[in-house]
C-alpha cells in the first residue's frame, strides 16, 4: 500500500474511532454468542451442565458406534434424517416464499409507482401486515385457519368450494402451504417497498425516450425497468432469503410439532431446550449458520452483487 498522507491517516483514524462502538457491540452480542455456540457443538454440554462441558470432538456431527461384533452404525447430525428433512423444509420454504414475495412485491411496487389519487394512503396501508408483530399475525392466521371456528373454512364452505372443513395447519398436506401463505402475506409489503424505492430511482425521461422509440409496456418493463431495478431487487432478495432461512416464529406459533414444517431453527430449538440435547442443538445451530453463510456468499458471487458501496 502506498504511504498515506497525514490527512488520509487522520481520516482513517477517525473512521476507526466512529466504528469502534459498533464493532464492540457487535462483538458482544453477535460474535461472542456465535463462537460460544460453535464451541458447545464440540462438547457434551447439557442444559444443566454448561460449566462442566467437556470437549468431545466432532461426535455431535458424526460418530461411528461400534456394536463390538463387527457391526456398527453412524450417528450424529450429518446422518440424522430429521435434520436433513428440516433442512429441506427450510430450503423449500425459502425458495417458494421468497420467489412469490418478489413477484407479488414487484406487482405491488409497479402499481404504487403510478400516480393516482390517494397513493400516499395506499402506500402506508400496504405496510400494515409488515408492521404487525409476527407472533400476533401468526396467532391471528391460526384462528382464521382453524378447522372448526376459522373464518377461512367458513367462507370456502359457504361459497361451496369445500364440502367439509380442512385442518389447514394440522393436516400434513397443507401445513407447509399455510406457513408459506402467512409469511408471504406478511413480507410482501417489505419487498414491495424496497422494489418501489428502486423503481423511483429510474428517471422519468428514460421512459419518455422509450415512448418516443415506440417501445410497448411489456418490452419497456423487460428491457428498461427490470434491468434498472434489478440491483435493488437482488439486495431485497438477499435480505429476505437470509430472513427466511432462519424462519422460526411463524412455524412455532402456527404449526408446532409438525414434521412437515419443522425448519432448521425449529429443529435446533427443540434439541437445545426440549430434548435437553444442548450440544446437539448447538451443532445444528452451527450448521445452520454455515448453510446460511454459504448460500449468501454463493448468491452474492453468482449475481456479482456490488456490496462495496462504490459505483462501477
Amino acid at each position: 500500500m502506498a504511504p498515506q498522507s497525514g490527512l488520509a491517516r487522520q481520516r482513517t483514524r477517525s473512521a476507526w474511532v466512529f466504528l469502534a462502538p459498533m464493532l464492540f457491540v457487535l462483538a458482544a452480542v453477535a460474535l461472542y454468542p456465535l463462537l460460544r455456540t460453535i464451541w458447545f457443538g464440540f462438547t457434551d454440554a447439557s442444559l444443566t451442565s454448561f460449566g462442566s462441558a467437556r470437549f468431545v470432538g466432532i461426535r455431535n456431527y458424526l460418530e461411528w458406534l461400534d456394536y463390538g461384533d463387527g457391526n456398527g452404525e453412524w450417528l450424529g447430525l450429518l446422518v440424522d434424517g430429521r435434520w436433513w428433512s428440516a433442512v429441506w423444509n427450510t430450503v423449500r420454504f425459502t425458495l417458494v416464499s421468497v420467489t412469490l414475495e418478489t413477484i407479488f412485491g414487484m406487482v405491488i411496487a409497479l402499481v404504487l409507482n403510478q400516480k393516482f389519487p390517494g397513493r400516499a394512503v395506499v402506500r402506508a396501508a400496504v405496510l400494515i401486515p409488515w408492521a404487525i408483530p409476527t407472533v400476533v399475525s401468526a396467532k391471528m392466521w391460526g384462528w382464521m385457519l382453524h378447522d372448526q371456528f376459522g373464518i377461512i373454512n367458513d367462507m370456502l364452505m359457504r361459497v361451496g368450494i369445500l364440502s367439509a372443513p380442512v385442518a389447514w395447519t394440522a393436516s400434513p398436506d397443507t401445513a407447509m402451504a399455510a406457513v408459506m401463505m402467512v409469511d408471504i402475506w406478511k413480507t410482501t409489503p417489505f419487498m414491495a417497498l424496497l422494489i418501489l424505492a428502486g423503481l423511483q430511482m429510474i428517471p422519468d425521461d428514460i421512459y419518455e425516450a422509450a415512448r418516443l422509440d415506440g417501445v410497448g409496456p411489456v418490452r419497456t418493463f423487460r428491457r428498461i425497468t427490470l434491468p434498472l431495478v434489478l440491483p435493488a431487487m437482488l439486495v431485497a432478495v438477499v435480505f429476505r432469503a437470509l430472513d427466511a432461512l432462519r424462519i422460526f416464529d411463524i412455524v412455532y406459533v402456527l404449526t408446532p410439532n409438525s414434521p412437515e414444517t419443522r425448519t432448521m431453527s425449529v429443529f435446533a430449538r427443540e434439541n437445545l431446550f426440549d430434548y435437553d440435547k444442548f450440544a446437539y442443538g448447538s451443532a445444528a445451530s452451527t450448521l445452520l449458520f454455515l448453510i446460511i453463510a454459504m448460500i449468501t456468499i454463493g448468491f452474492i458471487y453468482a449475481t456479482r452483487m456490488d456490496l462495496s458501496g462504490t459505483r462501477e
Binding site: D205, I206, A209, A210, L212, D213, G214, V215
Partner: protein
C-alpha cells in the same frame, strides 16, 4: 407545405393554463427556436408536439395530418432531452439500436445507420461504452446520434446544451448548426432560454411569454423590430436600455428603448449627461455603464476598445434618432 402547424393550441395542467392559444406554422427544413424566460411553456410546447403531453384544445398538424391523437412513436419525431435520457444499462450502440429494433429494421440497416451517425458525430470510438463512462459532451452527442438514427422528419431539442460548460456549449452549437446544414430536409425545433443560441442557430425565433406567443420572426427582424417591449428586452445582449419618464415622453412614448450600440458616448457634449459607473472591456468591444438622472438603472453603451473611458468620468450619451424604439404603456410599439 408546412411540416408543423399549430392551430390555437392550448394546454392546461389542472386549472392552470400554461399555453394559451398558440398558433404557429413551421416550414419543411426550417430551424425554429423557442425562447422565453423560465416557466413560459417552451418545454411544454415541445412536449405537445412530441406527443408526450396531451393537447387540451386546438389542432396539431404534422405534414398536413392531424396528429393530436397519434402515438409519439408514430409522429416521426425524435427528441433530444436536456438530461440526455440515455438508457444507463445499455452501451452507446444499444442505446441507438433500441428504437430501431423496435421499428423492426434489419440488423445490417441498423448497423449502417449507427455507423453513419457515429461518424458524423465523431463518437465511433465510444460505441461499446456505457453512458456513465462518457463525459457530458459525449453523452450529448450520443443523445443526438440516437435521434439522428431514427431519421425523423422532425427533430426536437429541449435545451440540449444547458448542462455543458461554456466552451463545450459553443462547440456543440456549431455542430448542431452543421447538422442542420447536412439534414437540410429535416425540420428542427430547438428550445432554449439562451437568446444567443437562438439568434445564431435559428432561421426563425418564436418568443414565448407566459404561455403566449409574443413574436415570431427571423433573428434580425426580432432584433430590429421587436413587436413588444418584452421582446425588445429579451433579444439582444447586453440588453436594450429602457428609459421612462420625461426622456421617453419627449419622444412620444411611455418607454423609450435604445440598444447599447446605438448610443454615442462623448466627453464633450450630447443629449443626456451622466457619470461612468463601470466599464467592461471584452477586447472586441467595451461596454460602458453610465449612471444618469433619467433612470435608476445605468445605461449601457458600446464603444470601441480603442476609446479610453475611465471610471467616474462625466460623459454625454446621444442615441441615434432613427434607431430609437418607442413603446406605449402596454408595451406595444408606437408606430409612425
Amino acid at each position: 407545405m408546412a411540416t408543423v402547424d399549430l392551430r390555437n393550441v392550448s394546454k392546461s395542467f389542472g386549472s392552470v393554463e400554461v399555453l394559451k392559444d398558440v398558433s404557429l406554422s413551421i416550414e419543411k427544413g426550417e430551424f425554429v427556436a423557442f425562447v422565453g424566460p423560465s416557466g413560459c411553456g417552451k418545454s411544454t410546447l415541445l412536449r405537445l408536439i412530441a406527443g408526450l403531453e396531451e393537447i387540451s384544445s386546438g389542432d396539431l398538424m404534422i405534414e398536413g395530418e392531424r396528429v393530436n391523437d397519434v402515438l409519439p412513436a408514430k409522429r416521426g419525431v425524435s427528441m433530444v432531452f436536456q438530461s440526455y435520457a440515455l438508457y444507463p444499462h445499455m452501451s452507446v450502440y444499444e442505446n441507438m439500436a433500441f428504437g430501431l429494433e423496435q421499428a423492426k429494421l434489419k440488423k445490417d440497416e441498423i448497423a449502417r445507420r449507427i455507423a453513419e451517425a457515429a461518424h458524423m458525430l465523431q463518437i465511433e470510438g465510444l460505441l461499446e461504452r456505457k453512458p456513465k463512462a462518457l463525459s457530458g459532451g459525449q453523452r450529448q452527442r450520443v443523445a443526438i446520434g440516437r435521434a439522428i438514427t431514427r431519421q425523423p422528419r422532425l427533430f426536437l431539442f429541449d435545451e440540449p446544451l444547458s448542462n455543458l460548460d461554456a466552451a463545450l456549449r459553443g462547440e456543440t452549437r456549431v455542430e448542431i448548426a452543421r447538422l442542420h446544414a447536412r439534414l437540410a430536409d429535416t425540420t428542427m425545433i430547438y428550445v432554449t432560454h439562451d437568446q444567443v443560441e437562438a439568434m445564431t442557430l435559428a432561421d426563425r425565433i418564436v418568443v414565448l411569454n407566459k404561455g403566449r406567443v409574443e413574436q415570431i420572426g427571423e433573428p434580425l427582424e426580432l432584433y430590429e423590430n421587436p413587436a413588444s417591449r418584452f421582446v425588445a428586452g429579451f433579444i439582444g445582449s447586453p440588453k436594450m436600455n429602457f428609459l421612462t419618464g420625461d426622456a421617453a415622453r419627449q419622444h412620444g412614448a411611455a418607454t423609450l428603448g435604445v440598444r447599447p450600440e446605438d448610443l454615442t458616448l462623448s466627453a464633450e457634449g450630447g443629449l443626456w449627461s451622466g457619470k461612468i459607473a463601470l466599464t467592461e472591456a471584452l477586447g472586441s468591444d467595451t461596454f460602458v455603464h453610465v449612471d444618469t438622472t433619467l433612470s435608476d438603472k445605468s445605461i449601457v453603451a458600446r464603444v470601441s476598445p480603442r476609446e479610453r473611458f475611465r471610471h467616474g468620468m462625466p460623459v454625454y450619451l446621444t442615441p441615434a434618432p432613427e434607431r430609437l424604439h418607442r413603446f406605449d404603456e402596454e408595451g406595444a410599439p408606437v408606430r409612425g
